[in-house]
């Protein structure tokens, strides 16, 4: 096989001396010959280092020997004949062509987008449902502590009123179930206004303003069922894991995890600022709608309180960047739920 002959440097691995040699492959052995060098290792005892750009090719010989050559074509022919380094030769081809590289860039963007859109929510849901409820106790306590320090004050509602609502909440909790340690908490919060949120362990917090805003206790029952919906679908944990996934992905892209390490615990932030994604809100609305239909035969109370909540918040802060789905859409869905029930579709 005279086509597989090339010039190279041989290093014996014991000294740094470079020996200029000729290398010939006879189908079984690499015959290395030069001044004071004569080796004939079997090809299966040699290792051809994978190709990398226009760098010199290296072949490792038994007993720490090393060949170094600029004759890349010869080594490529050797690889092709023996079927070596298939994986990284393929990578090498990708790296060699500008068109393929541009395709990789497009692929990178598309894949990242699709992964954030579908892959992460799926993985986050798996992880959230695999998390034992007991583990969510400390995280909920911690989150409530932070919220108490930064946004909340003790409730000013009369105890009788609170007991009334707690009794209603107990009924909702019993009905929806799920094995969480449900508890309804009241807080006053001039900063947050009328609001409610659910912690992963089953603690639900109502602000005094929300209680005042409701014109009818059925509206508050609707909000309770909505928040319990967040709990049973583990929305807060899923949100948390998704955020984590996004940051890990960015860190791979940027190649620096240090910038991510400084991110503080963000559950309180999720609850207060960002809110849930549109899909999560709609899912919680469905839980609430089902409960309301079963007990009152209508989803009106939740629609009403949603409408009033929007008005209350619109005056204070027009959150353009909010991920909350537009209230009209949520109300529309609730209305359709009721109609569907009425016409016997569900």
């Amino acid at each position: 096989m005279s086509d597989l002959e090339f010039g190279a440097f041989y290093f014996d691995g014991r000294s740094s001396r470079a020996h200029p040699v000729r290398v010939r492959f006879d189908g079984r052995r690499l015959r290395v010959a030069g001044e004071g060098v004569s080796l004939e290792p079997l090809i299966e005892h040699c290792r051809v280092n994978p190709p990398l750009g226009q760098a010199r090719r290296v072949i490792r010989l038994p007993e720490e020997g090393r060949l170094e050559t600029d004759d890349r074509q010869a080594v490529e022919r050797l690889e092709a004949r023996l079927g070596l380094n298939r994986g990284l030769t393929w990578v090498h081809r990708l790296e060699a062509h500008w068109k393929l590289v541009v395709a990789c860039m497009v692929g990178l963007v598309l894949f990242s987008w699709a992964f954030v859109r579908w892959g992460l929510p799926f993985l986050a849901a798996q992880a959230a449902f695999a998390t034992p409820v007991a583990v969510t106790e400390p995280i909920s306590q911690q989150a409530l502590k932070v919220l108490d320090e930064r946004f909340l004050e003790p409730s000013k509602l009369p105890p009788a009123r609170r007991r009334e609502l707690e009794a209603a909440f107990a009924r909702v909790a019993r009905d929806v179930g799920g094995g969480y340690s449900y508890r309804l908490e009241f807080r006053s919060s001039p900063k947050l206004g009328p609001n409610a949120f659910a912690l992963p362990s089953g603690v639900i917090v109502f602000t005094d303003d929300l209680v005042h805003l409701a014109q009818d206790d059925r509206e508050l029952v609707g909000v309770m069922a909505h928040e319990v919906g967040h709990v049973i679908h583990r929305h807060s944990l899923r949100q948390l894991y998704q955020g984590l996934g996004v940051f890990l992905m960015i860190s791979i892209l940027v190649g620096d995890v240090t910038s991510v390490t400084s991110l503080g615990a963000s559950l309180p932030a999720v609850l207060v600022n960002n809110g849930y994604s549109r899909d999560f809100e709609l899912e919680a609305d469905r839980t609430a709608g089902t409960y309301l239909l079963r007990h009152y035969g209508t989803t009106k109370p939740l629609q009403n309180v949603l409408h009033r909540l929007t008005q209350a918040h619109d005056t204070s802060l027009p959150d353009l960047l909010s991920t909350h789905p537009a209230t009209p859409e949520r109300m529309e869905r609730l209305r359709r739920m009721e109609e569907g029930e009425g016409s016997g579709k569900r």
């Binding site: 001396r17 990398l52 226009q54 010199r56 990284l88 992905m249 791979i252 892209l253 390490t261």
Partner: protein
């Protein structure tokens, strides 16, 4: 001065030094004066080989400076070798993009291969005396390290939510482990780097690592920072003085005086920057007062002044930082010997400042696409300013006995957290 004269001068200096007529300081100074004089630097530069030298003439790039024999008993040949970087920005860009793509598509598994490939690229394009360096780490081995460190990191994130106290504990543990990780990382990198098929070694002990990277930095605040130059010296001593190419140990003779001098200059530069900052602010304030009731002039000069002041501050501090880097790197290389090799490094602060600023702007304005270009450019610059002077050729290094199977956890941690060895 022509080539022959210069080589004779250098040989004479070497003879005198070895005969004990010159102190090491005098010798280094004289050598530096000779080698770095602009007219001599031109003589010493071999024609820059754009590509690796052809194999048909293997010795062409090697013997650059061969002096005529002075006596019958020929003295060792004096050789001067420049480091050359033959990589190209376009090629590395393509490798970088494909690496990124495959890392993301494989959900991070390929990252280990990507890391090794990128490093191999830079090693295999760094030539000294006709031969490239080689990076030998096994991607699978690197992957194990990444998985362990990644697992620890994930545990840290999750603990932040579920048990914040435990996460703090884990972080504290990380800090205590830092010198150990660093020690691991240095050993791993050295053992997996080779030149002419001779692996590097790192002989630093764990105790020295804890002294230089844990105890001394811990003491620094109590000395109002006066210990900083000394700590930097110890850290360089640790990294440079414990390196070896095969069986040949490096010697590091860095001097405390030079380190303190560097930091004194840096402090003066810092004061100058703040003074200039103050002047700019005062001037713009003064202009605002003179402007009187003319609104636009007032706001214009105040905002212009603030902007200019900020620019002065950022560029000034960058200059201080790069001065420290260039000056310490030059000194450390100058004072390092590896067998018969000595090093010449002539980085200049203003070049490095320009390089950092232009690289930063390029990366920002291309949304990161210029990262590979910037890396290649920076490497090229640093290697262009590093050279080796040797008595005898580079063919006499021998391998160290025994094999080392180093853990890759330290390397992965150094990579993930950008651990700085203080170089």
């Amino acid at each position: 001065m022509d080539t022959t004269r210069l080589s004779e001068e250098l040989l004479r200096l070497g003879e005198e030094f070895r005969a004990g007529k010159l102190t090491p300081e005098e010798y280094h100074e004289a050598k530096k004066r000779l080698l770095l004089a602009p007219e001599n630097a031109r003589l010493l530069e071999p024609p820059p080989p754009a590509r690796a030298p052809r194999l048909e003439e293997p010795r062409a790039a090697q013997a650059v400076l061969e002096p005529p024999p002075l006596t019958a008993a020929a003295p060792p040949r004096l050789q001067y070798h420049r480091f050359t970087f033959t990589g190209s920005a376009g090629e590395f860009f393509r490798i970088w993009v494909v690496n990124l793509f495959l890392s993301v598509v494989t959900l991070g598994i390929y990252y280990a291969w990507a890391k090794v490939r990128a490093r191999q690229y830079f090693y295999s394009h760094t030539f000294l005396a006709g031969h490239p360096f080689e990076y030998l780490a096994e991607p699978v081995h690197v992957l194990k390290g990444h998985l362990i460190v990644g697992g620890g990191l994930l545990a840290y994130y999750l603990l932040q939510y579920f048990a914040p106290e435990a996460s703090l504990l884990l972080m504290a543990l990380g800090f205590v482990l830092l010198p150990w990780l660093l020690h691991q990382s240095l050993r791993f990198t050295a053992y997996n780097s080779a030149y002419r098929n001779i692996r590097f070694r790192f002989h630093g002990t764990l105790g020295q690592s804890y002294l230089s990277y844990f105890l001394l930095p811990l003491l620094t605040p109590f000395t109002l920072g006066l210990l900083v130059p000394y700590v930097r010296l110890r850290q360089r001593q640790y990294v440079f003085g414990n390196a070896a190419l095969g069986a040949t140990r490096a010697q590091f003779g860095g001097e405390v005086g030079a380190f303190y001098a560097t930091y004194v200059v840096a402090a003066l530069m810092g004061l100058g920057v703040y003074a200039l900052f103050a002047v700019v602010l005062f001037a713009s304030g003064g202009l605002a007062v003179l402007g009187g009731d003319f609104g636009p002039l007032v706001t214009g000069s105040v905002f212009g002044g603030l902007f200019l002041g900020y620019l002065v501050l950022v560029l000034g501090m960058l200059a201080v930082q790069q001065h420290i880097y260039a000056s310490l790197a030059n000194h450390a290389w100058q004072k390092t010997t590896l067998g018969k090799l000595r090093f010449v490094s002539n980085l200049r602060t203003r070049d490095l400042v320009w390089l950092s600023v232009s690289n930063f702007l390029a990366i920002v304005f291309t949304l990161g696409l210029a990262i590979p270009w910037a890396k290649v450019r920076y490497t090229k610059h640093v290697l262009d300013h590093l050279a080796v002077v040797s008595y005898g050729d580079l063919e006499e290094f021998t391998a160290a006995a025994g094999k080392v199977r180093e853990g890759s956890v330290g390397e992965a941690a150094a990579d993930f957290f950008n651990i700085d060895v203080g170089l």
